[in-house]
Amino acid sequence: MRIRLLLFALYRDLAGAGELELELPAGATAATLVDAVRRRGGGLGRLPETPVVAVNQEYAPLETPLREGDEVALLPPVAGG
């Protein structure tokens, strides 16, 4: 299935891109996605093993199953206010 991945702030700098399209196997979870992204290596190899994840603009546990067309974001620790 096809997933839209968004990367912000420090993670975007590591990736060199704010948005990636990923192809993941059926049954993939957010954890599968994080593993796949870290295995790409380069800056993305420096992503933490358990980054904060949002699926379709909501914080979601790493066990969350993904579906075709989901928007997944990897979020560094936040610093608004």
Binding site: V52, A54, Y59, P76, P77, G80
Partner: protein
Amino acid sequence: MHVSLTQSPIDPSAVLELVGSPADGAVLLFLGTVREQNQGQPVSGLRYEAYEKMAEDVLRAIVEEAAGKLGTRRIAVVHRTGELAIGDVSVAIAVSSPHRAEAFDACRYLIEELKVRLPIWKHEQYVDGEARWLEGKAPPMPQSAGP
């Protein structure tokens, strides 16, 4: 109830005017502002980056929670994004309520929650030319629903 992100300078009076009612005896306005230094290092400016679509949803959820404490929905929160200068307002929170205790509690709740939950990141530029993403806070994660 009003929530927004904006790239334009925040006008505190305009945010105040979004709340208030003849039923209310207390209005509280909190402004976060850009400081000239951070941990002793002189700052020249900063940039806020937001996951905008999600940030507005999260902000709306926090405001709904605060409205429960406040006893009114007369809450306005505006967060700035993009490039800011020293002294600029980064966030404005206004609440109004019949009584002050609730106004203080709700306003404090809003700023504390926003700081740990809002998907916004701060990139600080320093006078010496350095620049970096501020160490942020990990948002509290929802529990898995389980099997």
